[in-house]
Symmetry: C2
Subunit: 476 residues, 2 copies
Amino acid sequence: MTRRLLVIGGSDAGISAALRARELDPSAQVTVVVADAYANFSICGIPYHVSGDVPRWQSLAHRTAADLEAAGLTVRPSTRATAIDVPGRCVAVTGPDGGTELLPYDELVVGTGARPALPAITGLADLGPADGVHLLHTIDDTHALVAGLQERRVRSALVVGAGYIGVEMAEALVARGIATTVAQRPAEVLTTVDPGLGALVRAEMAAHGVEVLTGTGVTGLTRTADGRIAATAGGGGLDRSFDLVLVASGVRPDVDLLVDAGARTGAGGAVVVDETMATGLPHVRAAGDCVVTHHRLLGTTYLPLGTTAHKQGRVAGANAVGGDARFAGSVGTQVVKVFGLVAARTGLLAHEAVAAGFRPVTTETLVDDHKAYYPGARPITIRITADAGTGRLLGAQLVGRLGSEVAKRADVYATALFHGMTVEGMADLDLTYTPPLGSPWDAVQMAAQAWTREHRPAPTTRSTPADPAARPRRTP
Amino acid sequence: MTRRLLVIGGSDAGISAALRARELDPSAQVTVVVADAYANFSICGIPYHVSGDVPRWQSLAHRTAADLEAAGLTVRPSTRATAIDVPGRCVAVTGPDGGTELLPYDELVVGTGARPALPAITGLADLGPADGVHLLHTIDDTHALVAGLQERRVRSALVVGAGYIGVEMAEALVARGIATTVAQRPAEVLTTVDPGLGALVRAEMAAHGVEVLTGTGVTGLTRTADGRIAATAGGGGLDRSFDLVLVASGVRPDVDLLVDAGARTGAGGAVVVDETMATGLPHVRAAGDCVVTHHRLLGTTYLPLGTTAHKQGRVAGANAVGGDARFAGSVGTQVVKVFGLVAARTGLLAHEAVAAGFRPVTTETLVDDHKAYYPGARPITIRITADAGTGRLLGAQLVGRLGSEVAKRADVYATALFHGMTVEGMADLDLTYTPPLGSPWDAVQMAAQAWTREHRPAPTTRSTPADPAARPRRTP
């Protein structure tokens, strides 16, 4: 029996589902409806097109339309799903010409993703790209931003928000020679890591000319008489005008379609799914930024990430063609490059671990990326969080220079977390060593050993540093 | 009760044992007898001193004498252990002045390490540093080599052997402006990886001016009338003279002391120990290059590596002061930098896996280190070996450019191997992603997925490439 699989959404989750379904069942008829004209684009790559690193926006496609067609997918671009008829197993769509249509399915996968969260800023709702005020979530948003940068003579820009997109876009704007200010309400940039590590990122931004205003929640935007945008902040920390404003304040799950069809929402307002990506609505699965995230340490949470969307989509696609796949769960692994720094984390921060019922304690260590005697050794700041009772590794945060294998070191921790390792057990891992690239105990192990020395003192001991290359850091 | 711990050997295993014992029991009296004057030096760093990257040989010390003293160790340099009296619990030593002494102990840890294997080369036994023929295992050897390079006008050098030390030393000699030839019997360099990957390393060496002669076992060395060294090879592939010859043909365990005391030898002629590093002789533990290696996939083997010596030493030291530590086992993780390339492996090659009773099949994939659209993406060649029946990951080999996080990617595989993961399970790992540093499925996962597509086709499928960035490689 030929299955008709309908996929709503052409980003990571939807395309992953569609490809996986075809891979497992080449007889499946797989149709993907895509709201815009850009199926399977790398949203994470947008800052690098704006910066000029990726000159052609077309390069941001993970796969071309021809690739998708060759994989057996029928892609319907510029087609917006407006309603799901669950009992009737069909989806109402509006096509590029405005005409409506009902698309029948045997199985449905919904990957509607997320949309930008709009912070409470007076005036924001009335301003748009024509005024020099931008959001950035889609390729159309990107075109509008790049056009705005080209058409106006943008010499100054304000980025509202200092999460991943905010700091990446600050770098992109600086690369274009624009005087760039980043303003955000929290006291430190990148709240995905502890403030001490965020401070390292902020210093790197400042060193590259970004004006970083923390504790500065933008409260109002107004168009000035000369066509610029005046920004005000609570507490008065900002009262200036800019040629361009980019609001990058995170995302909210785009759940209307599924909620209207009867789906439940949970963590973060996202649609509840189980580990098979089932929504509870018959024959309807969902994946990606529109659904909750199963987390191996937290249970169910909301943590929208491209990596997770790929995995969830793959699971949904497999199950849509009769598979028995389960999403194994996130451990919250994330990384960002900020100028010459790399900041990565996996697992939990201490306050998240407390909320999940653990007793976290954290040790911060400075460890060289390779033997200090070999030229070019550079310190990586590593924070290890683990449970005081069981010694179970709960999280790791790393900040180091680009080129010192920070990201894949985070992945070693991520793999350890996946397997529920203790911090002490990290010493058992058999990791690579050559003086230009590591140490006999790799940096990831030295940081773990520092945690153990601080929090699990041996019964009779005063602790002796195991390696002088691991230096306890005086936390600022 | 104060324990007297005696450690024989001042390299990785011995010092690790001594430090760990003091860390766990600061009341322990710990004495380390060191045959030469160089306790706790990084043998792996020698090539980088010879190359000039590390100008001062003293920098190769992991810790200084003052560090070791501060950690509470009594180090006796230039003191050679000549016999162990097991029932009497004492060790006969010869000190720097030639005098002999009996050192009593409560617990003994032996870390005598390894010494260079001498290949069957006619004339080798009669030649030495004064003739321009060198071995390279100790700091004294290093001094002799560096002195030889400085005093003679060395313009050409022959390196016998193309294992890790051979290829690293070839690079070091080239860095000194010396015309360098590497000759070895096997058909490809670096037999620790499959020949197809060894060929990439050989090409990199050739591109940097090293003459690489494979299938060329050196059979004779003779001093010529003008003070050079003539080398001949079986099959006639070599009949030339060189200013300097370095023999780098691997190592053999240095077991005489333990064998004379009654210890048994096993794999590779190394002393048999259990996972607690006990030798079977009462109160005598041993660790490092002189003992067998417990391997999580192979059982007991001989695989002398600095990383393993550190771990085994740490276990021996803990147990010597009443601990209950066990060596968790190697997975054979190794890495080498060769000019601008990094070659890493973990786990087993196919032929090793066959010998261990697995049914290995291997897939080679070329995968970019990060998204191709971001500048600087470079392919990593990854070979995944796994069991055809169970899908269990058995090994991974990676060759890529320096700077593309090859070493720590190998460590992700190493951590997966440690936990007995299947290749398919690698897709569940939550790894870092940002376009400048990775992909939504990291290279390690794309290579794993390529293995699965080749060897575990889904029941109904022709396989569809999951990501165009993963390109099956035509093996040369």
